[in-house]
Symmetry: C2
Subunit: 251 residues, 2 copies
Amino acid sequence: MNRSEAAVSAEPREEAFSYRPLYAQVKDSLVRRLIDGAWQPGQLIPSELELAREIGVSQGTIRKALDAMTAENLLVRRQGRGTFVAQPEESRILFQFFRLVPDSGERSFPTSVVVDRTVAKPGVDERAALDLSEDARVFRFRRIRTVDEWPAIAETICLSAARFRGIEDLADIPNNVYRLYSERWGITIGRASEKLKAVSADTDDARRLGCEQGAPLLQIARTAYDLANRPVELRISLCRTDRLHYSSELR
Amino acid sequence: MNRSEAAVSAEPREEAFSYRPLYAQVKDSLVRRLIDGAWQPGQLIPSELELAREIGVSQGTIRKALDAMTAENLLVRRQGRGTFVAQPEESRILFQFFRLVPDSGERSFPTSVVVDRTVAKPGVDERAALDLSEDARVFRFRRIRTVDEWPAIAETICLSAARFRGIEDLADIPNNVYRLYSERWGITIGRASEKLKAVSADTDDARRLGCEQGAPLLQIARTAYDLANRPVELRISLCRTDRLHYSSELR
DNA sequence: TAGTGGTCTAGACCACGAC
DNA sequence: TCGTGGTCTAGACCACTAT
């Protein structure tokens, strides 16, 4: 099969304005398979040579596409075994999406207790962040998260009730919600954007976190996006940073 | 020149325990040229084919090394022109090392006014962070940084007096200190690690930043490292986040 | 027009893991 | 022993830049 017969339609000359390298087009078409659920989390995907034959490009081009997806934590490659679709297991989520670490000691996944859950009309911020229509409803829940047996984080999570249909009937909301999103609704979180501010604890925050009213708290506003780059989750975390800090690496 | 004669000594079989891929060894040897100053910021480096001939590996191996260095912001590649050593110019530093952005509006480089400068014995934290010897001295200076005509950041920067010899005699400390480090002492900042906490403004902070005593401030403790991964700068920033936030992308 | 980096291909050999 | 991904090579053509 030569390039003009390829499933991803190569031949850059024919599309002078919207040129994308072949490996990028291949990558897009493979990401599509993740979005559509053709490839499920944890699944072994076909080998490079099989994909090369199927799509009609060389192994090197497939490799560059797979390497790019691996760099984005969408795939996991294991020498001698094959390439697997990444899963939202504890350790990966902990490493990729949780930046609060104890001042001294190991990074650990906090436990959670859900304290409140409602279906409501979204606020303007929520509607904007989640790109919701005029009459949409959201499911909102709050939880207190404990790190090293110390209640340190008060979190409010806001989701589209339509997109997460049935979530209000769940008996239990597990600690690792990204795995829940994946297993129950087939929604994979691919990236997130966080905005941090320092705020004062109000009486509610103070009660929940066991600190003084007016104590400084780290507020983290996170918007999480799915593989198609649509906003999925809005999360406001209020954190005591007496014994924790938010870690950020700049390169 | 064949591989066994190569400057980076290939032949993985001969070093079973400390195996590194050839492209990684090439990368290390090229980073060395940056550390040693053989390649200066802004300089055009030899083409891929020249480097391939010189080192005795193929162009593809050179390419993989250069791509890795480009991903780390050490080099800038421009199609048709060549590969250049990255420079600490405003826009790059702004993008790479400055994560405080106005809540609404464009990201901009803050201006600075230096308010204090001393040579002193380091505190224990400073000595540990900068890996200093028992009798070392540090140069410490404070500055107030203004974003959108609004004094928002109080910063204390701490450097080894020995490493930055003569810095105490500088008439003026410019806004972009990473360019100063580079131009005056040949020190390139390659990466930085930040730890964020929420704290309360003390009377000093409040006066300097024009806020209430006890107001919540975002404290950013940054350790910046040179290309050889040695700690170079310790910086504590206290930020009002009334109109600013710290932006963090998780992927 | 010449030279650069960017893309793509094809094929070789290696290290690793499962059988 | 076999198949996988990992590395390395060699060479082709393209797009961009400067002259």
